[in-house]
Point group: C3
Chain length 470, copies 3
């Protein structure tokens, strides 16, 4: 029967004697998809099943045998069975000793079991070489060829030869193996496919809450207030004018929140007089998702730019400009060129353009492939120096935008100040604290703390941590 199925196969590029046999335990969806793919890539596939008669289900060219028979045919056995059923493998200990067992299983929850599935398998079968692989690939992707995202297969295992052979199989399937080291890494690899943007959640929810709050704030000021007092129908503002108020405020606030944790951390370090004390958990988490916060802020900034550039095309913009001309002509008012207005408008736009430009630069350097090619010093330079310049430019953009209207009582509606004033609260706070921290006396202490100096033990230290240690 072996021969027959071999003959039935289309002979691909390589000659038949080269064909390697791989055994797959389990005939579920993933097992069959993987088998199908392997047959396409010119492997001879033997399925191990409790019920070998039902071979009709499987891809033509594959055999289905009992577990023990199938395992005897190949050095590599891929287990596409759930962890709960691993115990039956102990009956096959003799056959499986010395073979390579590939664990592809996943869990339903992060850290579902105390040890990873692969480590559990290695404890069950101490004489087999357990390799973790393929769990980050989906059955659907394997079959449809839609593997854009997941060409990378994380592989780990304690036996380096076994790992190497599995990595060769991965390569032959057109995928990219990533050596993740020993079986200790299996836990992380098993948690990997369960996550859905874990670091993006906080920035996402935060920006959603900010947007909703600001939207209603602007609706009250710009739609309801004029309707109540002047019977004006301003509902059309919901479509573009109010978004173009909400988005820049959200962007600037989120950008400031990127720099706030660094400032808080510096204050904590100054307060404790050491850098060797852990930050509270919330601050740690906040610091870890700064990149995501910044990218969400950049997204809102992009929307703000698009909404702004579109103003002269909008019906409202065209109507207003036409009306201004006509009114001026009707009232026969002079329209002298006001240099101060030109200065205000141009510098406000220039600050915005330069701030946005640097912001996009920051976004580009946070692309994984770009940040991998810069050194730590370069990255720090871009992210902290350029980041602060961006924050300063964007805050100045908002301040100049306000111009003379800033906090004038006529701008208050129902005691609510203009929305852009809300945008300035956090950035100005962050910048103020940052400038205080840059005062020479404070900056010197902070630098020493960050180089390992500790206030409490300063007297003892020089003896221990001499100039000889890094």
């Amino acid at each position: 029967m072996d021969k027959m199925s071999t003959d039935a196969l289309p002979l691909a590029m390589s000659s038949p004697e080269k064909r390697e046999t791989v055994c797959i335990f389990g005939t579920g969806d993933f097992g069959r998809s993987l088998g199908f793919k392997m047959i396409q890539c010119d492997y001879h596939v033997v399925f191990g099943s409790r019920n070998p008669q039902a071979s009709s289900l499987l891809a033509s060219g594959a055999e289905v045998l009992s577990y023990a028979e199938a395992a005897r045919r190949s050095d590599i056995i891929i287990l596409t069975i759930h962890r709960e059923h691993y115990s039956f493998l102990t009956e096959l200990t003799e056959v499986l000793n010395g073979k390579i067992l590939v664990d592809v299983s996943n869990n339903l929850r992060v850290n579902e079991h105390p040890e990873s599935n692969a480590e559990y398998l290695a404890q069950l079968m101490p004489k087999a070489h357990v390799v973790k692989a393929f769990n980050t690939i989906s059955a659907w992707a394997l079959q449809s060829g839609a593997l854009d995202a997941s060409r990378q297969v994380c592989v780990c295992g304690n036996d380096s030869k076994a790992k190497q052979r599995v990595m060769d199989v991965v390569r032959n399937l057109g995928l990219t193996p990533l050596d993740q080291g020993s079986l200790l890494a299996a836990k992380e690899i098993e948690n990997y496919p369960l996550q859905l943007f874990p670091m993006w959640r906080m920035p996402f929810y935060l920006s959603a809450v900010l947007c909703v709050f600001l939207f209603f704030y602007c609706v009250v000021r710009d739609v309801i207030y004029p309707y109540v007092y002047e019977k004006e129908d301003n509902t059309f503002r919901l479509a573009a004018s109010i978004p173009n108020r909400v988005f820049p405020i959200t962007a600037l606030t989120l950008l400031a929140l990127v720099f706030l944790p660094g400032v808080i951390a510096a204050i904590l370090q100054l307060y404790h007089g050491t850098k060797y004390r852990r930050f509270p958990g919330w601050l740690d988490h906040w610091m870890l998702c700064r990149k995501q916060l910044g990218l969400v802020a950049l997204g809102f900034a992009c929307l703000h730019v698009l909404y702004t550039l579109v103003i002269p095309i909008r019906y409202y913009g065209r109507w207003r400009s036409r009306n201004a001309t006509i009114t001026q002509l009707m009232t026969k008012k002079e329209n002298p060129f006001s240099a101060s207005s030109a200065w205000l408008s141009d510098s406000y736009l220039s600050l915005g353009i330069l701030g946005f430009f640097l912001f996009v630069l920051l976004g580009i350097t946070s692309l994984p492939s770009v940040s991998n090619t810069v050194t730590w010093r370069e990255f720090r330079f871009v992210q902290s120096k350029l980041g602060f310049v961006t924050l300063i430019l964007c805050t100045a953009h908002t301040l100049v935008y306000g111009g003379k209207r800033f906090l004038s009582p006529s701008a208050l509606r129902w005691y609510l100040p203009s929305a852009y004033i809300l945008a300035l609260i956090i950035p100005c706070t962050v910048l103020a604290i940052k400038f205080i921290l840059l005062l020479p006396c404070i900056d010197r202490t902070l630098t020493r703390i960050r180089q390992g100096w500790e206030r409490d033990t300063a007297a003892v230290k020089p003896a221990v941590n001499g100039k000889s240690d890094i």
Copy 2:
């Protein structure tokens, strides 16, 4: 002579005793360029040649000897000769046994020979260790240092120690070796440099055809028709107005074509009642170049955005706005603010901005370094969920743009409808079918099929593919 040439060399950073000798067979352009680069990187290079007297041609510091003599000097022999001439190596079998032979050859056509050049070499010289490397690097790039694209050198070979040594040579030349596994990979590595954007061809031709067709369609409607009936000279529209009609239509149509194959595949799966049947070839190819289709569509969308934002700067835009003001003043018509026009214009622009923003996001996630850092679940979420929202937003943008003019008879010219109506055909079809597929009863069946359920064998299956298999 050996000593002399060594002394003549500038002593680079490492001391002379460290200098490794590498032998290069063949003094063609690639051989000489590689030798030149190796001498720069402080290797001692010995060329093997049929005609060793003609050493004047080679970089100073290199020796030229007969093949056999040169091969004796080094463990590593790089063969820069064409495959057709490999047969002469059999004369040198004794000298080459146990040595590392590096095959750098390329072919003129994809799959030119039944087996790869490196495998052919390994058959000729079974006792040498054949390693495939350097074939993806160009001689010109090696010499000019313009190696931005090609720092990566794919290396494969059956002997891991030999491969490791070649990878060290690659690293010392300032290049990045990529271990591609055993010599079986040589075939793919040899085909690699021959391709020129293979997956981009279909999207490119398709968009070119679409653009040309739409361009002439718009010329007929917007230039020839007014000329024939109103003697208007509208040729200036060729420069910017018509491109800004052609580009958005092409973008939307291509975006819809990204989602059409997925919809067709779902219908086929429902029809056959299984996912284990292969799709027809054209559908497979279409599904594989969806990413490229989407990126081409994004390019056209970007052009559309730029052309639109530039409208108020164009002479035509300025002239029209001035004219509108003057006409209104002349005719002394009232110009009350029309809230419905403002709504229409603002919501049309808002839909466009949001659609474009999501489209750019999709484009960013398809960058290799970004898609490598997201899990399969995250990628699927972004590409399918966000992708459909993008398609819906862009289709709605076009629908609202049409507004009241939609299919009004006055818009017909020579029975040709407005061009934007053509843009709606495929997107609306795709969205309609997609919504039908999302109906609970159909969606449930489709989900089961994609999890491995098969209609024809549904009765037998539960016994075989129990809950134990993945």
Copy 3:
């Protein structure tokens, strides 16, 4: 005491018997930060110190012993001491023989010592296995978890097993090891963290000089000249109008400078009749930073686009358009539509849009992850073919912008021509030479030279470099 500190530790995921002991020599900032991180990742850390009593300083859970005692506890000894103090290790030769010594040291200057620190250590301790690692990671980043840029740890060493073990440690700390080959690579790895954008410096300074020069040129023409002759206050132009003149000129000049070295190189090759002669140093350096030049040019082009799109929103833009309408009404002039003005304005904008679009495409393909996925042929196609089309489009954009004003005497102010004319000098020169080089007779010679043909030895060559060599 060993036991106690173990009990005091929180038991992480893995069981206590798995915990590996790592020894760190030196209790400086980096040593302590690394120890802290390793304890978090469930290692048992033993510090070696001259003064083991001062253990209070260290992270709880770590022991501090004398150097010799600490070294006996572990196979892996991480040296966080300065190179100048390595000599004391010779006293410990017996204990350290056969152990893995990890060198993490950095220098203060590029190529500070004749050999790398790791090679110096290997000479001192010939029987230990020296591995270079961790030097690209900062202590601050290790502790704060802000490891976005520096997850990659370059590892090199002569003993592959020792290297493998260190790479496993790196992986367990959540970092990504990069195998850089043998200890010869240590020199480069030690220089790596010292660099701050080395290839960006020339483009950066060049563009700064260009910007400053053009800024003052424009100030003289657009602010001082009108003030002197017409007493106009044009200072508001400093904020947006002049930047929008300076940026596009800088962008176009830098873009032309990207292509100039290639043209010079071709002339040199034609002159020398060979490609095997090295280019002068300045040309080599120029060719190597072409990518950076191009990206800086792209940045200025983006700024130009933003400044241009913002024109109709600026107070000046709105004032001018209102004024034009009013003036026309007042003077009761006709305002017929000028098709030629429309053509000029539209084609000028279209050329700019298409040029900018291709420029952005070029920028995207220079992202490391994108350029890694294209072959050399594809990269060359994009960078040279598309690059020249971009240069042609952008030059044409500037030429058409000038339109009829080009070199008209009325445009001269104090004999200074319009600034945009300066922008055309280098691009036009480059394009002119390039077109000459593309003449069939010259192109043929150049192609032959680039394929290895040499003018001086053309008579001898065919015999030597037959068709058999690549």
